[in-house]
């Protein structure tokens, strides 16, 4: 790899980071209450749940797939955690993880063994899992409350002004970076996303790797749901609708290619924070109508994608 290609790859992956830095600077200058500890904490804490799911999605997308079921798994995880909390914190955490892992395993097996498109398989997952959640909660009318104080503390307590889910997210992000860059599994994920046939010919265990990737994505979505239920002290049933699109958007503006084979965790984390900061800036302005808010956030995201594209193109031409 030449140094020019290296620079272009860095730009592709860190376009989001640069726009993020720019927005933070602009926000700090324009609004007194933007660069405060309270506001920063709200952005980081609320981003942490999206980030946990986006870490799993990064693996899926690098492997050339997509997982549309994460929004439904997120809400199911929360409902199961709140329901399980009556049996103690261990059940509250393990019940959603176990159920989500089974869903991920089924999806992964179908995708890997039958060659069906991940888009369709996980779309079925999206619908089926939300249906399961509605069945467990009387069509969403019953909200289970978290009855175990130890489990609630996991979502609400914290140190140094940040809640525990933020530290969980940081640990998971670091672990995922090592897994992706320093292990054979990570190399296999890149190889499958780059060229599946070539990877298979080279002896990469394609099916096994794919199954693991979807199990991981489902597990992380369930974990995020469980932590969020602990934070809210209840299994809120109206969460997660359209969340998969936010997650995919964060991963893609973080520089991971939707076609697979390239991308990374740092970009994803930057992408998630970028979404959070855009939202926070809109709230700082504080008088945009809902329609205009969507225009602004849509425009920002388009800007990031275009900027990334131009940056990497300019780099290649020079």
């Amino acid at each position: 790899m030449t140094s020019r290609e290296q620079v272009s790859r860095v730009l592709q992956q860190h376009g989001a980071l640069m726009v993020l830095a720019l927005l933070v600077v602009v926000g700090s200058v324009a609004f007194d209450s933007f660069a405060t500890a309270g506001n920063a904490a709200s952005v980081v804490v609320s981003s942490s749940f999206l980030a946990i799911i986006a870490i799993g999605m990064t693996f899926v997308i690098i492997s050339g797939g997509i997982d549309l079921s994460v929004g439904s798994l997120f809400v199911l995880g929360g409902v199961l955690a709140a329901y399980g909390s009556r049996y103690g914190p261990v059940v509250a955490l393990l019940l959603p993880l176990a159920v989500c892992a089974v869903v991920g395993l089924l999806q992964g097996l179908v995708i890997a063994r039958t060659g069906m498109a991940p888009f369709i398989v996980t779309l079925a997952g999206l619908l089926g899992v939300r249906g399961l959640m509605l069945a467990l909660s009387d069509e969403g009318a019953t909200t289970y409350l978290v009855e175990d104080p130890a489990f609630a503390a996991l979502g609400q307590g914290g140190v140094l002004g940040l809640t525990y889910p933020v530290y969980v997210t940081i640990a998971l992000a670091l672990g995922a970076m090592v897994l992706l860059q320093r292990t054979g599994f990570g190399q296999n994920v890149y190889a499958i996303g780059g060229n599946e046939q070539a990877a298979a010919l080279m002896g990469v265990p394609v099916a096994r790797t794919k199954v693991r990737v979807y199990v991981m994505s489902a597990l992380l979505a369930g974990l995020a749901g469980a932590l969020n239920a602990a934070r809210l002290s209840s299994g809120v049933t109206i969460l997660g609708i359209g969340l998969e699109l936010d997650v995919i958007a964060a991963v893609v503006i973080g520089g991971t290619l939707l076609t697979g084979g390239a991308g990374g965790i740092t970009g994803t984390v930057a992408g998630v924070l970028l979404l959070g900061v855009i939202q926070s800036l809109i709230n700082q302005v504080g008088n945009l109508t809902s329609a205009f808010q969507q225009v602004v956030s849509g425009a920002f995201l388009a800007l990031v994608v275009v900027a990334q594209r131009l940056l990497s193109k300019a780099q290649r031409l020079s």
């Binding site: 405060t36 309270g38 969403g140 809210l232 359209g242 893609v252 926070s280 709230n283 808010q293 969507q294």
Partner: protein
């Protein structure tokens, strides 16, 4: 070269899909209600029942509303008449009272976003919060932060499941159970106590849906044993969903006599579905709750039998309650407003007061 182009195109496609999900609402040139007509009125004498709260008991300190930062967190897009009128009422009243720094956020129906919105309003130093909650449960993180800073919270239209005067100040809104009962009375009257009725339920997980459903069912059970409720499904308070569910309803239960829609948007969706199925106005009696202009117009046109009002103009009452509280007056744990009803007798005259 190729993959990045495709990826960029795909990414744009994803983002465009994400931003293209907005609902449409025809702009309404609603005339301003004349005088005090159309404004919320507190129901007497039982409108302010329950234990009261004072500034001293709440533990806050007095401040000047006009110079303070005030936050309003809206739950859903301003894409239906109720939300449009609600947000406008809060903004207009704040402007009228000279509240210079009103911060408005909109959660776009995403509950996680509403929690973050309110936390960011708190981070911006608001002294008073007016919240239209999307969901009744799950407010723990917000309530903790607001309590730590002694920020009074007034919830409007939906309730939060928490302790008034401790976790939040008070709730201003309608008696939804009573709305359900009154809707049932209108349905019983329309069907002369006999027939099959379908319910288009509101969005799950909030007290409005639960209470409008229970009120209706309890009243039917008590007054009209000849009416059976043979179909219930959620239309999520949305017009398209109401239409879709009604289309299925006509297929599965062609002998239905009445539809109780838990808001006007779903009722209007039902009207569209009935028109599509070749029904005439009045073939199936529809009763709904809200009192939007389009619904009141639909009464005049003969499609709806009656509409129980649920008044969204919370601005004057919300800020009046805040002012009283800051002046040290006792505030009830619930401020219940009185709602009117519309039927063929008053629909045309009342059109100007509907929202």
């Amino acid at each position: 070269m190729k993959p990045p182009i495709r990826a960029a195109a795909l990414a744009l496609a994803v983002l465009l899909t994400a931003s293209a999900c907005a609902k449409q609402e025809e702009p309404q040139s609603a005339p301003a209600p004349s005088g005090t007509a159309g404004q919320q009125v507190v129901r007497t004498p039982s409108g302010s029942a329950g234990p009261t709260c004072t500034l001293e008991k709440f533990g806050g300190e007095k401040f000047d509303l006009t110079t303070a930062t005030v936050g309003f967190s809206q739950s859903e897009k301003e894409a239906n008449p109720f939300r449009i009128a609600e947000t406008k009422s809060i903004k207009d009243e704040a402007a009228k009272l000279g509240i210079a720094d009103l911060k408005v956020t909109n959660a776009q129906s995403q509950f996680s976003k509403q929690i973050t919105d309110v936390q960011q309003l708190i981070a911006q130093g608001v002294r008073l919060l007016v919240i239209a909650p999307l969901n009744s449960d799950g407010w723990e993180p917000v309530l903790q932060q607001a309590a730590a800073k002694k920020i009074p919270i007034i919830t409007v239209d939906r309730q939060i499941n928490a302790e008034p005067c401790a976790d939040y100040l008070t709730f201003i809104g309608s008696d939804f159970y009573e709305q359900g009962r009154r809707a049932a009375d209108r349905m019983i009257e329309a069907l002369s106590g006999q027939g099959k009725v379908a319910i288009l339920l509101g969005a799950p997980g909030n007290n409005v849906t639960t209470e409008r459903t229970n009120g209706f069912k309890d009243r039917v059970k008590e007054k009209a044993p000849g009416i059976t409720i043979s179909f219930e499904q959620t239309g999520e308070f949305a017009r398209e969903k109401g239409q879709q569910v009604t289309e299925q309803l006509i297929q599965s239960n062609p002998d239905i006599n009445g539809i109780y829609a838990e808001n006007d948007e779903m009722a209007l969706g039902a009207v569209t579905a009935l028109k599509g199925a070749g029904k005439e106005p009045g073939d199936i009696k529809i009763v709904s709750v809200d009192g939007t202009r389009s619904a009141v117009q639909a009464i005049a046109d003969g499609w709806l039998h009656a509409v129980i009002e649920s008044n969204p103009r919370f601005g004057p009452l919300a800020f009046e309650t805040a002012r009283k509280f800051l002046d040290g007056e006792p505030i009830p744990g619930k401020v219940i407003i009185s709602d009117r009803d519309y039927d063929s007798g008053n629909a045309e005259d009342a059109l100007g007061e509907a929202y």
